[in-house]
Every structure is written in C-alpha cells, then in structure tokens.
C-alpha cells in the first residue's frame, strides 16, 4: 500500500512537472493586450550611426488576420560589408506603424533545419484567436548563437515577446504541434574528440495555438 502511494506521488509529480516545466512565453490579457515576460527579451545592443538612412528595403510582406499587417525588412544604408541581411523590422497597420525594431548586427533570411520556407526574411505561424507569431533569426558572429526574435501580431498591435541567443537545431511538426529544438550555447572543441562544453538545450513548442518555452 505504501509503495503504491509513493508510486502515485511520483507519477503525479512528474505529470505536473511536464505541464509546469513548459512556460508560456506570453499571455493575452482580458483587454487583448499581449503580456510579455522580460526574462525572454534581451535588449539589442546598437550604436549611434549618423549616416544609415535612408534605409534600403529588402522585403515587404503582408499578413491579414484581424487587421492587415505590413512587415517591411530594411537594411541600413551603406552597410554592405556588415553581417546580416537587414537591420530594421517595421510593422504597419492601417493605423500606422505599430512596431519598429533595429539591430546593428542584423537579421538573416530564415534558415531552420526541418522548416521549408523558401528564401524569406521570417517564418510565421498562426496561434490561437488569430494571433500570428513571426520568427526572425539574427546574424551569426563571434562564435555566439544568433538571436531568435519572435514578434506577435494581435488585435492591431505587434509586440516583441522573445529575443534570446538561441541556435535552432531543427523544427519538427507532429500532430499539428510545432516544436523548435533550441540550443543556447555554441560548443567549442579543445581537441578533435573533446567538446569543451555540454549543449544547453531548450524547446519552444506551439500546442493548441499557445506558445511554450522549456
């Protein structure tokens, strides 16, 4: 009887861990506002540059959900010798600009193993209640993981909800769920057979239209 109770305890504990180990990256408030979590949003480190405008338009996309969103990806002027494909993300609705992000090191065209998405500047996935998640990947340099930048479009607004250095090892879709397998560190090698670090792995999953980080 005691053994059964102990077993029941561990089964319950593990099942709860499985639920609570996955933490929602953002929530939607009662008024439709996106509620972010600061621990998932690292600031972009940018310099002050006097001669980078006018920006050069690299790509324009339109996404229609509750309202129409125009996403423009632009390059700083004169930055041909720099990393990344574009440095500015502008998102507009009919009401005007709703988000503008700038990043000196730049974002690159999306290339995630397992994700067939052509030669686009971002990947998008529809979430619950018509919300849309945009996934951008930053440029790689200094042997550091690139930024994974996630923007949510909802209720006529656009909101940065995730910006952390993460390598996307691959993307898997199973039973309608989408799983991004991530790694937060780059593995360096001291010799041919000895990795200096262990990979620190995470996942972002989209289940039933909700986005979780683990």
């Amino acid at each position: 009887m005691i053994m059964r109770s102990i077993l029941l305890f561990f089964v319950t504990y593990l099942s709860i861990l499985n639920v609570y180990g996955q933490i929602q990256i953002f929530r939607t408030g009662d008024n439709g506002n996106i509620i972010t979590s600061p621990e998932y949003i690292e600031p972009f480190i940018n310099g002050t540059h006097s001669d980078i405008e006018p920006y050069i338009l690299k790509e324009t996309s339109v996404i229609n959900t509750d309202v129409g969103y125009t996403i423009r990806c632009l390059r700083y002027n004169g930055w041909e010798n720099e990393t990344g494909d574009f440095n500015v993300i502008e998102i507009n609705t009919g009401q005007g600009e709703v988000l503008n992000l700038q990043y000196d090191e730049g974002w690159e065209r999306v290339s995630m193993p397992g994700l067939q998405y052509g030669n686009k500047s971002f990947y998008h996935e529809t979430l619950v209640n018509g919300e849309v998640a945009l996934f951008f990947t930053g440029a790689t340099l200094m042997s550091q993981p690139p930024y994974l930048t996630i923007i949510i479009l909802a209720h006529g607004r656009a909101c940065l909800v995730f910006n952390k250095r993460m390598i996307v090892n691959n993307v898997v879709r199973e039973n309608g769920d989408l799983l991004f397998n991530l790694q937060e560190n780059v593995i360096e090698w001291t010799d041919e057979y000895t990795p200096a670090d262990d990979a620190v792995l995470h996942t972002i999953s989209i289940k039933n239209g909700l986005m979780y980080f683990e």
Partner: protein, 284 residues
C-alpha cells in the same frame, strides 16, 4: 492512507508553481541599449576595384584612388592586387588610420586593459632581427589561411565552432609550433596576453599593415561569461570600411561558428558592440 495521498498531491501541486516566469504587464519594456555615441564619420565608401586577380603586387603604398565604385564582389576577395593607402593627414578625424596620434583605440580609455602607454604598440620602424625570423611573405599567410579553411571544412564541416582550431592550424602550418594546441578561444587570448615575449599587443590601426608585411597577426575576444570566445587570423589585403565599426577594419580568416572564410572584414567576425574588447597581437 487517503490523508497521505492528499498530502502528497498537495505538495506536488504546490512545488512547480514557483517555477513560473515572472510576468510583466509592460509589454514594451525592452529598451534600446545605446551605449555607443560615436560621431566618427567617414563617408568614403571603399573601392573594391583595386582588388584584382593579378596576385599580390606588393604592399607599398601609392595613395591613389583608382576611381572605381563600390562594386563589392565577394569573389574578388580572393585576389590580391593590393594597394595600401596610408593617411598622411593627421588633422582629420579618421582616427583608425593614425597610429602615431596616440588615439589608437586599443590604447585609449576604453581599452580592455586601460593601458594608456604606447609601450606595447609596435613601432613599424623598429622591426628587429627576431621579428624578421618570424616574418613570412603575404602570399604564405594568404595561402595558409585558404588551406586552413579548406582543412576545417573537409574535417569538421561548415557549421560548428572551430575558430580556435583555425588559428592553431594556421600557426602550426607557418611556424611548425604547437604553442596554441589544446586551447579554447578564451584561453588563447589569455595566452597571448600573458606571453609578451612572443606575442606583442598591437593596435587595430597596425593590424592590417603588419599582416600585409608578412607578420602573423591575430585578434581575439574573451567572452566574459566563460562561454566560447572568438579568435581569428588577420590576413593580407586591403582594409575595408565598416559602417558598424565606424572606420576601416582589417581582414580576417574566420572558422568560427557558421563561418568558413579565408578573408572577410573583421566586422563580419566580431560585433561592433564588442569592438573595444577585441585585442590584436603580432607573433614575434
């Protein structure tokens, strides 16, 4: 027993709740970090027409502009019709080209070691005999960089971080020494810093010129978190204007994560936000 079960259930329900993320209702609170305030302005775009496939034609300077546009072509990087254009005007603001002005930023207040003396900055007029022993031809360094990148690709592929291997292989190829064996990037930079007999700290201002003169020049960044840092070899070529760094930058061989280039502007190897933390050394 039922009480025991309820107790277990209550404990197990309460424990993971503490792992919840701290939610913040302010969804726009990611600020723009703007620590840089540079007014250095150089609107002279670089003329890549000076790159040819004619091979290395010397590292002397003629200071002339051949009138070409900025038709950058990555393939052209592999040719070395190099013309160095030193700056004779000490009154302008292009500080990155004025090694004798004392404002070379590896030695200014932002310097990683806050060393304001010029003692450790190489004087190109005083290349001693020992220096000469470790001096190669520019084409030797260029070819070594190409061979090193080819070796890294064939042995380890095109993705993983092998910047330390790249520098180690290039160094061994040129000098047949194992000094850099078994070192990670952070360790390698510390080793350079701690061995001034063989590794002389130089400024970014001199890095390209010394590589063009056949010296083995390296650059590195120590990751303060302890995670992987980054190291590269400066290779012969012509400095390239970098908007992000706000000046002309040397070229580097980079075999770091997702990098397999035998020659690219160093601004593609190190982020501009780290430019004051990147240190340069000459092997002597």
């Amino acid at each position: 027993m039922r009480i025991l079960k309820i107790l277990f259930l209550a404990i197990s329900l309460s424990m993971p709740l503490t792992s919840y993320a701290c939610w913040d209702d302010d969804d726009d609170d990611w600020g723009t970090w703007d620590p840089w305030n540079e007014d250095d302005d150089d609107d002279g775009s670089y003329d890549y027409d000076s790159w040819t496939d004619a091979g290395w034609d010397g590292y002397g300077s003629n200071g002339k502009d051949d009138g070409g546009g900025s038709d950058y072509d990555y393939d052209d990087y592999y040719g070395y019709g190099v013309v160095i254009t030193p700056d004779d005007n000490d009154n302008d603001d292009d500080w990155w080209r004025q090694p004798d002005q004392g404002d070379d930023y590896s030695n200014d207040e932002n310097d990683i070691e806050n060393d304001n003396s010029d003692d450790d900055i190489i004087d190109d007029k005083n290349i001693d005999n020992k220096d000469e022993l470790n001096r190669k031809t520019p084409s030797q360094i260029t070819n070594t960089a190409k061979n090193t990148v080819a070796t890294i690709i064939s042995k380890y592929g095109t993705k993983n971080a092998y910047c330390n291997f790249g520098v180690k292989i290039a160094f061994k190829s040129l000098f047949n020494k194992n000094d850099l064996e078994g070192k990670r990037a952070n360790d390698m930079v510390r080793y350079w810093m701690n061995n001034p007999i063989h590794w002389e700290r130089i400024s970014i201002t001199n890095a390209q010129r010394l590589a063009n003169e056949g010296f083995f020049v390296v650059a590195g960044w120590i990751n303060p978190t302890g995670n992987s840092g980054h190291v590269v070899v400066i290779v012969p070529g012509e400095s390239t204007y970098s908007g992000s760094w706000g000046g002309y930058v040397p070229n580097a061989m980079d075999t770091g994560y997702m990098k397999r280039s035998s020659c690219q502007p160093i601004s593609k190897s190190f982020g501009s936000s780290k430019k004051n933390e990147v240190v340069f050394f000459k092997y002597k």
